[in-house]
């Protein structure tokens, strides 16, 4: 089935909006509109009603600890509906704090376990020092080029369970935990990652994949090709640091 317009659900834009998270939405909108696909972005703050049936793509960013604490309860309350949507193949991009919340739990420095919804088979431990810097990684997704570039800035160390597939293998930077060279995790069409930068503007091939999944969950529809020259030049600046 193919849809004519896309509805993007942006979860907690006022709370979970670290540097440049907005850039990811701008990129999706831009590359969809260039192809004549109308886009509607729906913002949902805590307690806002969400019409899950109409959602074609979900985005959620990272937030300061105090902000994350304010939305955690609401997010967990929505776990059944969100999980159902993700199981149905609705694509989601979850960055940093949102990625951690898709996992089983985040264990703080004090040993408290802050629960997530457990859709991704990952767990996160607080760590020091923060992993900060450019990242170049090689993804297993079927997209061209295979490289993903971004900027990471996270204290948490995320470890993958047996049910999780890493988004990519790190060639520059720390990635999930600085130990196993994995970066991010995926299940169905949900992608969790630590990459900011903003991620999607300079990874147009990943942007297009998300749009393709959003347009047609079975992934059978090819998108009209549009230029990605400038996008890949920005991409190559970081790639060349590897």
């Amino acid at each position: 089935m193919q849809k004519s317009g896309l509805q993007i659900l942006h979860l907690y834009p006022n709370h979970m909006n670290l540097y440049g998270d907005r850039g990811n939405l701008i990129a999706i909108q831009h590359r969809a509109l260039e192809r004549g696909i109308p886009v509607e972005v729906v913002h949902a703050e805590p307690e806002a009603p969400i019409s899950w049936r109409d959602v074609d793509l979900i985005f959620m960013g990272g937030g300061e600890d105090s902000h994350q604490a304010r939305i955690a309860e609401d997010f967990l309350r929505r776990a059944p509906e969100l999980t159902r949507a993700l199981e149905d193949g609705v694509p989601m991009l979850a960055i940093c704090g949102a990625y951690q919340l898709l996992g089983h739990y985040y264990r703080t420095v004090n040993g408290d376990k802050l629960p997530g919804i457990g859709f991704l088979d990952v767990t996160t431990e607080a760590g020091r020092p923060r992993a900060i810097g450019d990242v170049v990684a090689h993804t297993t997704l079927d997209i061209t080029p295979r490289s993903l570039v971004g900027f990471e800035n996270h204290g948490g160390r995320t470890f993958l369970g047996t049910g999780a597939v890493p988004l990519a293998t790190v060639q520059l930077g720390q990635g999930n935990n600085g130990q196993d060279r994995t970066e991010g995790a995926m299940h169905k069409h949900a992608i969790g990652t630590y990459l900011h930068g903003s991620l999607l503007p300079k990874n147009p091939h990943l942007t297009d994949l998300l749009i393709r999944w959003a347009v047609d969950r079975d992934g059978n529809t090819d998108l009209e090709p549009i230029p990605m020259d400038l996008e890949l030049k920005a991409h190559d600046v970081i790639l060349s640091r590897c």
Binding site: N14, I26, I132, F151, N153, G197, K202, A234, V237
Partner: protein
């Protein structure tokens, strides 16, 4: 005493040698002085009759400090103040150490020190400031400082170490700044009281920083919003309200470039040459600070006619007959405000812009922040006809412009900043005003190039 003496004079000698050898290095004398006598900053501060004033906050430090120092000097005080870039503890130390050529102690009544937020606890603990001013809190370079709440915490530590009779000067319009005054007795608030007519296209809000009550965490309600989260707010939940400012801008005539400032003592009309509402805040803060410290308000209007903006802060230079403005950009709110100011200045005339984006440590290595700058909303109103994009991350910037809806044919990418500047100067007609908006290290590069070419007077910068 001997130790202090040695520390001061050795440090000065090192500073002199480093300047002669062309290395600039404004923090080196600070390193040397503190190595010889770790108490040097404390000992020098104590001897200032009116003590030390610290000025901090995310944006506006340099311009506010420059204007306040200017007004205090015009008011008859002897003031030592630091240059932009020398605002970490080593820079503050170097500033006091080098204040005189032959005396040990600075021959000044007070030291006005622009201070990086992260250095506030230490600076305050060593100088016990007689006044501490906080301009605003915005997100700034998360890769260096971490979260905003960390910054607020650092400033709180600084407040705790102030002189017992010290004044805390706070921006009433920034909820997180105003909240710092809640448990403090001697607070002076400053803020704007402007109505829609003065604001024109402004008065809408941009997208980035959170606007939650600093006391209870619930969303704030705004009656007026000047930019970002600055405005007249209250919390419907716990009753936290914007404090009534002691120093108020009651009018802003954008065409004539004048503002009216009211205080309990007086009302004055002042010229403001620098465009943008953020410069209204900067001037207000400078007047509130110098007024609180005893500078007379009456003559300020005439005095300000001769004020020259600080290095790269809407600084005007003439190059080959072109009017060129240099305005540092370093975080989303600041960049958005500079763009608004560009739109404000020179009216409807077409303008050209050169954006130079680097990602070295001092610039912030994460360029994500460019995506939080409100190009979508502001680019329509700026009348920028042509964009030149340069620097290490020129392509990220060009992409940002493309995604903001600016057509590719209006954008030129030239990665080397001096080449970009030359191209722009070559192609621009003489009557087109040019605006250069560089990140920090890019500003230094541009400056060095202009100096080399003899386009500007030499200007030493950290």
């Amino acid at each position: 005493m001997l130790r202090l003496w040695i520390a001061v004079f050795v440090a000065r000698l090192v500073g002199m040698l480093s300047r002669v050898s062309g290395r600039g290095g404004s923090s080196l004398p600070g390193i040397v002085a503190r190595r010889i006598d770790p108490e040097v900053l404390r000992k020098l501060s104590v001897r200032l009759p009116k003590g030390v004033v610290l000025l901090t906050g995310t944006n506006g430090k340099t311009t506010t400090a420059a204007m306040a120092a200017f007004l205090l000097k015009a008011g008859g005080l002897r003031v030592v103040h630091n240059r932009a870039g020398a605002n970490l503890i080593l820079g503050l130390t170097a500033t006091l150490v080098q204040a005189s050529r032959c005396q040990v102690y600075p021959p000044a009544d007070l030291a006005l020190l622009e201070t990086d937020e992260a250095s506030i606890p230490k600076a305050s603990e060593e100088t016990h400031p007689k006044a501490l001013m906080v301009t605003n809190f915005f997100r700034d370079q998360l890769d260096r400082y971490g979260e905003l709440s960390t910054t607020v915490g650092l400033v709180k530590q600084g407040i705790a170490a102030m002189d017992a009779d010290g004044w805390l000067l706070l921006n009433a319009d920034d909820p997180q700044v105003a909240f710092l005054g809640e448990d403090y007795g001697r607070v002076v608030y400053f803020g704007l009281d402007l109505n829609g007519g003065d604001l024109g296209s402004l008065g809408q809000h941009d997208a980035v920083d959170a606007r939650f009550c600093p006391r209870c965490g619930k969303p704030l309600v705004y009656r007026t919003q000047y930019y970002a989260h600055l405005g007249d707010y209250r919390c419907g939940h716990c009753g936290f309200v914007r404090p009534i400012p002691d120093w108020v801008v009651s009018e802003w005539d954008r065409q004539e470039g004048r503002i009216t400032i009211r205080s309990a003592r007086d009302t004055v009309a002042l010229p403001i040459r620098m465009p943008g509402i953020y410069n209204v805040y900067n001037l207000l803060a400078a007047v509130a600070l110098s007024g609180t410290l005893g500078a007379p308000l009456g003559p300020m209007g005439a005095q300000l006619e001769t004020f020259e903006p600080a290095f790269g802060r809407m600084e005007k230079v003439i190059i080959q007959g072109h009017t060129v403005w240099l305005a540092l950009v370093k975080n989303p709110v600041g960049f958005t405000q500079v763009l608004q100011a560009v739109g404000d200045s020179g009216g409807q005339r077409p303008k050209w812009a050169l954006l130079v984006i680097n990602d070295r440590y001092a610039d912030g290595q994460d360029v994500s922040w460019l995506w939080d700058v409100d190009f979508e909303r502001v680019h329509q109103a700026q009348h920028i006809e042509r964009w030149w994009v340069s620097g290490v991350r020129a392509y990220d910037m060009a992409l940002r412009l493309r995604y903001a809806g600016i057509p590719d044919h209006k954008v030129d990418v030239v990665q080397n900043p001096s080449d970009a500047l030359e191209h722009m100067l070559h192609e621009a007609k003489a009557d087109v005003p040019l605006y250069i908006m560089p990140t920090y290290t890019a500003l230094l590069e541009i400056r060095q190039y202009l100096t080399q070419k003899g386009y500007t007077r030499h200007f030493r910068e950290g």
